[in-house]
């Protein structure tokens, strides 16, 4: 029978051949495709092929009520859904001219940081698996599951929490939740040594990751790279500190940076960020009980809720980078336009194509995972 999934390309006088990575390929993150032209082992050019996860979110949102949209926004980035709801809620609040009560803001911050912890744990395993080491994936995903348990505890949803609404959060924290959170953080910190020994200081892994997909700061800025990928190039830029939202200006945290800009620097930045998130969460555990008050600013009946005319651009630092929602209202009960600026739309298309050029076939998957690209953010 024919080799079906392969179409030979006739290229005349050339050594080049084409190879598909994805959409069905273990070296691709999610449902995404990357077409490579190879000369031997060296990538001559790569072309991203997106759209496998396209659902037309922006169109869907124009056809639904403001409150209904909360159910679909988290689906835009599956591994890290919390920043999506928060960003959408913040944008709507800005148009409405209301502000979430201070306690709700603290709870939101906690949710964002927990989500970041979960997303980073997920990334370590994925990145390690592209180099052939599967144990960190098993460990990371199992530890992430414990975070998901907490999500389930306080929001009711394991992955998609749909916990935020414009004006606050849906419900109060369950009793003794902070104690559980504190226990989890203790556990995660106790695992630090294991992860360091297994992954971050593993000599073979370091050899593989160092120098792979290196990006200089100028290139990163030119390609609009944000988030941990930018910080790995030596620029300490974080939306949480530079365009503060929620209560981040009251919290103490460092912005970890690395200067090499390669895959190893990126995963180290994520590792450090994970522990910074734990530090933030510890502060929240300390401060939250003393912050009393409502968790919701009342909004009109959501089924006949007309948001006044206006527009807002809300930016949040997700685990992947700068996430932004541009929401336009024409005064109706539905958004007139919602534009999602997913950080991965910059990383997974132009940056990946740029970095893949000249890389080795062995490194392509690693470059993609080290950029922590999330394909649904590209496709929407």
């Amino acid at each position: 029978m024919r080799p079906e999934n392969y179409q030979a390309v006739k290229l005349g006088q050339s050594n080049e051949y084409e190879i598909f990575i994805g959409p069905n390929h273990p070296g691709i993150e999610g449902n995404y495709a990357f077409r490579l032209m190879l000369d031997g082992d060296i990538v001559v050019s790569g072309k991203a092929d997106a759209g496998y996860l396209h659902r037309g979110f922006e169109k869907l949102m124009e056809g639904r009520l403001w409150i209904q949209n909360l159910a679909i926004v988290p689906r835009i980035c599956v591994p890290d859904p919390a920043p999506m709801e928060v960003a959408y809620s913040m944008a709507v609040e800005e148009i409405m001219g209301i502000e979430a009560p201070i306690r709700a803001q603290w709870i939101r911050t906690m949710q964002l940081e927990l989500s970041r912890v979960a997303a980073h744990l997920f990334t370590f395993g994925g990145h390690a698996a592209t180099t052939g080491m599967y144990t960190p994936m098993f460990w990371g995903v199992a530890d992430r599951d414990l975070v998901l348990d907490l999500f389930e505890d306080f929001t009711g949803g394991r992955v998609y929490s749909i916990y935020n609404i414009p004006g606050g959060v849906r419900r109060e924290l369950p009793p003794e939740f902070l104690q559980k959170l504190s226990n989890l953080l203790d556990y995660l910190e106790s695992r630090q040594n294991d992860y360091d020994n297994l992954l971050f200081t593993n000599q073979v892994f370091v050899d593989r990751a160092k120098g792979c997909g290196a990006l200089t700061q100028e290139q990163a800025l030119e390609l609009s790279v944000t988030g941990p990928n930018l910080r790995a190039c030596g620029l300490a830029y974080d939306v949480r500190r530079d365009d503060p939202y929620l209560v981040y200006d009251e919290l103490e945290f460092d912005i970890p940076i690395q200067t090499a800009g390669d895959a190893y620097a990126r995963i180290l930045v994520r590792r450090d960020e994970l522990f910074q998130s734990i530090r933030i969460l510890r502060q929240i555990i300390e401060r939250l009980p003393s912050i009393k008050g409502k968790i919701r600013t009342p909004i009109p009946n959501p089924l006949s809720w007309n948001v006044r005319k206006g527009e807002a651009y809300a930016r949040v630092e997700s685990s992947k980078g700068e996430l932004a929602y541009y929401v336009v209202s024409d005064g109706g009960d539905k958004p007139y336009r919602v534009h999602v600026r997913g950080p991965s739309s910059m990383h997974a298309v132009q940056t990946l194509e740029f970095l893949a050029k000249g890389a080795r076939l062995e490194d392509v998957a690693q470059i993609m995972f080290s950029l922590d690209a999330c394909p649904p953010e590209v496709d929407r």
Partner: protein, 231 residues
């Protein structure tokens, strides 16, 4: 594979034949390789189900990377039209017996994306589905439960004919092809020759052919063996 080839089903005279058959179906139910293809957001619940916490391997299920080796195709969530084409291609490349599990409500009826112009709504219009696991998204426990159900179906296939949905694709190819053509256009064709395979493995029925397969024959460009040229 040449079209003249045909596997001749001999009369089974071996008195132990059904014992062997039972043993094979027992082993089939105990060892399932699933294809590592994340079609949608439900895929996020597969890593937990596969890894340390729920550990699918103790049920005999492990991920495989290419469709050739896989037994189960997990459709994890909505399938956009672009994905659906690839999913059908993947499904046709898999070797029978093969099973499809539709995870998430989106595969049943479009789910929360029912208004979306870009996603297909009913998965079982395009390929036979063995088990649906509803939920948005189903928890790992539900995924395991669904897989357990599939295993039971395979085990009881002889009695209840639940586990052989894959035969339906050959038996009623015209129906599935019709739905695919309605969505992808008349000139839709996959590189796999399902009709030839149905003939070869003695799975053809009257419903294998119809107006849609005629249309396919009209548009089908012959697929020649591929050449790889270097210089």
């Amino acid at each position: 594979m040449k079209k003249e080839l045909k596997i001749i089903q001999k009369e089974r005279t071996n008195p132990l034949a059904h014992v062997f058959d039972d043993f094979i179906s027992f082993c089939q139910s105990k060892s399932l390789f699933m294809l590592h293809y994340c079609t949608g957001c439900g895929a996020i619940e597969l890593p937990p189900a596969m890894t340390s916490r729920f550990d699918m391997e103790r049920l005999g299920i492990q991920p495989m990377v290419t469709p050739r080796q896989a037994d189960i195709l997990l459709i994890t969530g909505y399938v956009s039209i672009k994905t659906l084409k690839r999913v059908i291609l993947t499904y046709e490349q898999m070797q029978s017996p093969k099973y499809v599990i539709g995870i998430c409500s989106c595969t049943v009826n479009g789910g929360m994306y029912w208004q979306s112009y870009a996603t297909a709504k009913k998965l079982n219009e395009y390929m036979p589905v063995d088990v649906y696991i509803a939920g948005c998204m189903p928890r790992p426990e539900a995924v395991m439960e669904g897989l357990q159900r599939l295993k039971d179906n395979i085990r009881n296939d002889k009695k209840e004919h639940k586990g052989s949905a894959w035969k339906d694709y050959f038996n009623r190819y015209d129906y599935y092809l019709g739905n695919q053509q309605a969505l992808f256009g008349d000139d839709w064709q996959t590189p796999t020759d399902i009709i030839a395979e149905a003939k070869l493995y003695d799975l053809e029925t009257e419903e294998t052919y119809g107006k849609h397969t005629k249309l396919l024959e009209k548009h089908q460009t012959p697929l020649l063996p591929q050449e790889m040229r270097i210089k």
